[in-house]
Symmetry: C2
Subunit: 99 residues, 2 copies
């Protein structure tokens, strides 16, 4: 018990590897479009789509739909809440894994 338990309460939204990767990328770029995330993560389109939706539902990512010419484009950006949750997650994990 004691100060072990925090690890049991890590944010599962971020803990999922695919989403951790997405959040990491979005925390560095101000905006990223779907296709960039697609190649950068190596996820399938289906899975990238569902993970982004979940991040959006949670309020960690904001999704803006525009067009690049006639072709649809989905722009993604991390929200302040997302960035905060991401930093908190990193601190928790780092602290736990240090010895």
């Amino acid at each position: 018990m004691k100060d072990n338990q925090p690890i049991l309460e890590v944010d599962r939204i971020i803990h999922e590897p695919a989403r951790l990767l997405i959040m990491t990328i979005l925390s560095m770029a101000e905006k990223a479009d779907f296709l960039f995330l697609l190649t950068e993560t190596g996820l399938t389109r289906g899975n990238l789509s569902t993970h982004l939706s979940k991040l959006e539902d949670t309020g960690y990512v904001e999704i803006e739909k525009t067009y690049r010419g006639k072709i649809p484009q989905t722009l993604c950006a991390i929200t302040p809440a997302g960035l905060e949750a991401f930093e908190k997650y990193r601190k928790q994990i780092n602290k736990f894994l240090k010895r």
Copy 2:
């Protein structure tokens, strides 16, 4: 893609917070019994039991059943494979979260 993908391949057996906690404790003690793990992790008996079974099935933990007087006792120890997997996991996550 590139050197992001390793994070997508983290060992899910260890990545699960409850098991990460169990493995962390077992990596420090040589042996731990069920009740020690129970209080130390704060998990329910049911969940501790199933997580230990999964770790055992994976070959990361060895479980020895004995008696303390007339009362059953379950002793748990990390295996070499388990320790190796645990260290690998830590390295992967640490490396990913740096930067």
